[in-house]
Symmetry: C2
Subunit: 240 residues, 2 copies
């Protein structure tokens, strides 16, 4: 007997509906009972029913159509929550010793290549190349651009010990982000840097970060991290 997560009535209603969907009793497209009927079934107010249903709609398990009812949603893809930890936190979380190796740091006017990556039209930026180590084994190779128009303080920060990602996470707390995950073969320089054979498959994780509506000066940073494919895995989980 597992202990219930929450005894709240709306949570019970939610779980009841969930289990009927997960058991296959209610298939995609099935119209579930009207909110009115749930009120009667549970002897509660409509707000309580509504709270349960809205929560399931937000999870993607249900969809509401005005005037028609609430239906079991037809899944069109697998959803999962991807939680990408800060590298230092991830390494230390595994009980390993983290070390940063700053390869280069360049403050410059955005080149054409920078502009394309950072998605700005002009301005100064900080370009950083660094390696992340876990117990003296290379963990990831990072190429990062920081938009100094958006984060001028970054120009004064010492990134020789503090990873740029950690600093940014703490100083530009809430952003929007887009991620792109691909696989690439390590070129000779990358291979040497990561201590992997030439052409070894690497996970390439790119991240674009900005604030708000996405104007030029709100672009925060671009990061490209390469992980040895045989030592690293991204994991994602779809909650119940």
């Amino acid at each position: 007997m597992t202990r219930p997560i929450s005894d709240a009535l709306h949570a019970r209603i939610r779980r009841d509906i969930e289990s009927r969907i997960m058991s296959g009793q209610w298939r995609p497209g099935h119209r579930i009972p009207y909110e009115h009927e749930w009120m009667e079934a549970y002897g509660c107010s409509r707000m309580t029913v509504n709270k349960a249903l809205r929560s399931l709609v937000q999870s993607g398990l249900l969809e509401s159509r005005k005037r028609a009812g609430t239906f079991v949603a037809a899944p069109r893809f697998h959803r999962a929550a991807l939680e990408i930890p800060d590298i230092r936190a991830e390494v230390e979380g595994q009980g390993l010793t983290y070390r940063l190796d700053l390869l280069s740091r360049d403050r410059r006017k955005a080149t054409e290549a920078d502009k394309a990556l950072l998605r700005v039209s002009s301005g100064d930026l900080l370009a950083i190349e660094c390696r992340h180590f876990a117990d003296d084994l290379p963990y990831a190779l990072e190429h990062r651009l920081i938009n100094l128009a958006a984060v001028p303080e970054a120009a004064e920060v010492d990134f020789s010990t503090q990873p740029p990602g950690s600093w940014l996470l703490a100083h530009v707390p809430w952003t929007e982000a887009e991620h792109r995950i691909t696989a690439i073969n390590a070129d000779p320089a990358t291979a040497q840097s990561l201590h992997v054979p030439e052409n070894a498959a690497c996970v390439a994780l790119e991240r674009w970060t900005w604030i708000g509506a996405g104007r030029d000066d709100e672009r925060i940073t671009y990061a490209r991290q390469l992980y040895p494919g045989d030592r690293y895995a991204l994991t994602a989980h779809f909650h119940a």
Copy 2:
């Protein structure tokens, strides 16, 4: 001037709070006004305020501590919503023609290897190898195991034209899932199958799917899909 997504009062309150967090006006750890104060500020009831706050708590931007108040949450990692489309839908969504190539189909008792992958202790399963084509170019190579104890109907399905993922998505609608993304070098057979050079980097996407608490007979399927790294990218986005 962008058109507002929703004019609902709780949505406006939500956006107001969001923008103060995203602009940096309220930093992690900051205690935002009490629900009582929001009521007065907006001249609305507490339920309306609560709806906005709960929504932000669920997004991870806020956290509530009873008796203390509601605080801006400290981001500990980058969150993103990963939406992995059904391959057929994804291919057709790009305006390409989808074709399935069933390489093998084997109904068998679970071998030791199967058990480890599917995470069951025994039982019959369906093992499928197939290739997905987009306009006659190999798009992905798939190895799939389906637990027949959980999905007996799968034994009768014709998977020579219908991709197993699409069938399962439609017939075992809602499950829990775990994903693992790595990069691998194509071995000779894989390279030939995907029309890529030997050792080409490929994105390996593994997915374990089950229902409910996760007992043996509730394990649904294991899938491993290999995508040519230079033709494929997974994308994930963190919503505002």
